[in-house]
Subunit: 377 residues, 2 copies
Amino acid sequence: MKKYYLLTPGPTPIPPQVALKEALPILHHRTNEFAEIYKDVAEGLRYVFDTKNEVYTIASSGSGAMEAAVVNLLSAGDGIIVASCGNFGDRWEKIAKSYGVKVISASVEWGKVVVPSEIEKALKANPNVKAVFTTFTETSTGVVNDIKEIGKIVDKTNAVLVVDTVSGLGGQEFRTDDWKVDVVVSGSQKGLMLAPGLSFITLSQKAWKLVEKSQLPKFYFDLNKYKKSFLTNETPFTPPVTLIVALQESIKMIRQKGLENLWNEYKLLAKAARAGMEALGLELFGEVPCEVVTSAKVPEAIGGKIVKNLREKYGVSIAGGQGDLKGKIIRFAHMGYIGKADLLVGFSCLEMVLVELGVKVELGKSVAAAQNVLLKG
Amino acid sequence: MKKYYLLTPGPTPIPPQVALKEALPILHHRTNEFAEIYKDVAEGLRYVFDTKNEVYTIASSGSGAMEAAVVNLLSAGDGIIVASCGNFGDRWEKIAKSYGVKVISASVEWGKVVVPSEIEKALKANPNVKAVFTTFTETSTGVVNDIKEIGKIVDKTNAVLVVDTVSGLGGQEFRTDDWKVDVVVSGSQKGLMLAPGLSFITLSQKAWKLVEKSQLPKFYFDLNKYKKSFLTNETPFTPPVTLIVALQESIKMIRQKGLENLWNEYKLLAKAARAGMEALGLELFGEVPCEVVTSAKVPEAIGGKIVKNLREKYGVSIAGGQGDLKGKIIRFAHMGYIGKADLLVGFSCLEMVLVELGVKVELGKSVAAAQNVLLKG
């Protein structure tokens, strides 16, 4: 009988009409019927990524597409710049080092945003680096990096820009082509309102030139295979058919609503979330808050308990901190199929949990603060 | 309004009660609720694999788990023996070569089964090889290899035995521990009656010793990460939650029925399928037919049309040949959620398609032949 409310930054709630598509009798993947669906999904992904290039679907978690970027662009001994500001940015460095790629760091402390001028400096000091790897919205801390500005800098060099948009795509303005992003990776379980299990990657012509020279070993993530299969609306390996059929439905919903309209909704939710946190006296965390997740500092003594009690007592799932931030922050997601009422559920239950943990809280205050923002629209 | 009947060797039909689980509201993957499900699934996989060792779940197609076996066991320059007898066996060689592993072939022509004594010879001639890679049921041709016999041979050496059971697991007797198989890989979309999107791998202690020495680069498929996460009933990367929740249901069904009973059912279906093919005058293909898919030769002029017309006119999906066998054979699957009546649908529509293609066929003859076998039980 337990009822769950998901306010976590992935998985995010799945619209019932999307979820039900997963339950339809399965299609064989080497048929015209499935090829038509795959083609439609690929077109829809182009829209969501805002790119003229092909977007490939991989059967993996988002980290699989991240690895695909590394192993297809580089050779052992190549140098890259990693500009990380959190857990997922750090993952670029871990993957690269696993493959013997030299990492030059332009990273910043968790909670800060990466500094475009530092990337520029690193590129000047290391003119032979093949690529700059960074993150759009860094879910672990709740900040957003200035990809547009970074794109301008990297575009002037021989290096390509690789951006992880797993948590931000579909949730906040992101323009692959206009912002000169060469490689974009993403996942299915956040802004795309689907279950986890699919990852995505798109490459510019500049990036494909690097692919031609890449010597790192690869098989499952070899993008030449995906490019070739794409010609016949296929995937090189058996695709997760039910997830792709459901993705067609969620992309249809996104297109009907319009990306810009969606971004505006999440922007408003983000503003309401920040107002709610501040009304509770919780200091916002993160130098430049993104629009898909809001982080706030909490007393370390009760940090873990807030997350645990919210879930166990009220069925509300939010996220805590990762790594060094464990127990120190809480994170409310407002992306994908999360609406205004969900956010108010989050704040009203958070207030009760805080009271139960002995924190002095004026009941209804954070709800009212969020409501005020939402009413102004 | 088109109604589909799936008789393909993956994806195979999904029981409605399993498919509907995919549509349930998504759970967050870092919760006790999901950990309990994951733990139950992992226990169930142990039962299906018939092993005391841990079975890890990876978000990927079956080929992902195959790559995981290669990159976790080996180092560049290592030698291995590949005993292939078809398309999927050949994949071992392709993956290994992508990673600079030296391949000694003990392979046979497509349609034949691998020869245990040839593997023994190759092991004696190359005592330093680290592993023998082969296939249980080779879906591309419809044969089954004698893994038990190969296990006895490899067990006496320092090499480990790695077997791809993507198409056979759950469909035909396979015993990981008793047969001394060190590494087994499999997938979700065949005998496990689920959608594609999950792959599985299990390793013996002998195999883990090789993992310790392995130098091939890896990140996403690094099994040490999966082993570590397994301790807390987690996966290192966001798992395909809806697929795993559905897998719990299909494994429950398999356990209720009992693996041995399932194997007997498919054995009977296989016998009926062979009788049906022979009644049509179609010569069976494959030296030792497996019990999950039946292959038969068809006149090359109409090979492709049989598959196409079955699907387009009657909604019946069967498989044709792959690679050099394209247009030369047809394949009927009888694994997972495929029952007696499905097989009769396949033969009755196949008869009509053959008549339409100008082949002389006595209507009802293959159906009767299959019925006779099924009635005898």
